[in-house]
Subunit: 119 residues, 2 copies
DNA sequence: CTTGAATCTGACACTGATGTCAAGTTTTAG
DNA sequence: CTAAAACTTGACATCAGTGTCAGATTCAAG
């Protein structure tokens, strides 16, 4: 599929999809004229990438991580090196803390919302 | 307490504490010489502010929210206007989606980490 | 062939909290 | 009194993904 359709189906802008490519996160075949041609699996991949960005991972980290993830197309997965495992563990712990923070913030908002509904 | 101690106790930089003040998030008495003098409750407040920043709320939103939160010192709390409740509800829903995303990312990382431990 | 939609590359701007540095003032300890 | 530490304001930089615009090219349909 071409970039417009991928953008529409993932909700990610064309600009961002091109940026992902420069960062080595996403590859695409090219038509004879130079237009990008994505495989169906790109949809899932882009969604994953977005999730990881939302989790605060940087491009460089996602680049390392992607080949180790079991893909939707069941492609051959690499195995993380000990060094990478260490880094990913740190990321995971950071995400856990982030989740805890978010839960507290959500509860705070709910308190205020509830107080207003009753007041 | 002065800004250095507040920074140390909250883990937030002095730079950020001053920024919070310019945004109307944090007030401080001043010594005759002009140095900031924070009440004990500032510690909790700063922690809350940090959490809300981490949840993706902007200064302007936190400014609206703060007076509606029940403070640690049990100060008089304002009640959110209907308009604010609407905005806060949207924020809460966004946070809920963010949490869901984070959980997925964490699970992804755990999968890779586990695969490496066994591989 | 023609025309309009889609895509290409490249460049520049922005966001918004935070880092950092500079020059000057206040506070505190000896 | 004095020196060091802490604090002040102000300005500029940074990050990293994303928005946006311009000009050129390709694609698809009539």
């Amino acid at each position: 599929m071409r970039i417009g359709e991928l953008a529409r189906r993932t909700g990610v802008s064309e600009r961002s999809l091109r940026y992902y490519e420069t960062q080595g996160l996403l590859r695409a075949e090219r038509t004879p004229g130079g237009h990008r041609d994505y495989p169906e699996a790109a949809v899932d991949r882009v969604v994953r990438i977005q999730e990881l960005f939302a989790a605060g991972l940087h491009s460089s980290r996602i680049v390392q991580l992607l080949p180790c993830m079991r893909d939707t197309d069941g492609g051959p997965s690499a195995v993380a090196t000990p060094r990478l495992v260490e880094d990913l563990t740190a990321e995971r712990d950071r995400i856990d803390r982030m989740i805890a923070d978010l839960v507290r913030s959500r509860d705070t908002l709910n308190e205020v919302i509830e107080a207003a509904r009753q007041g």
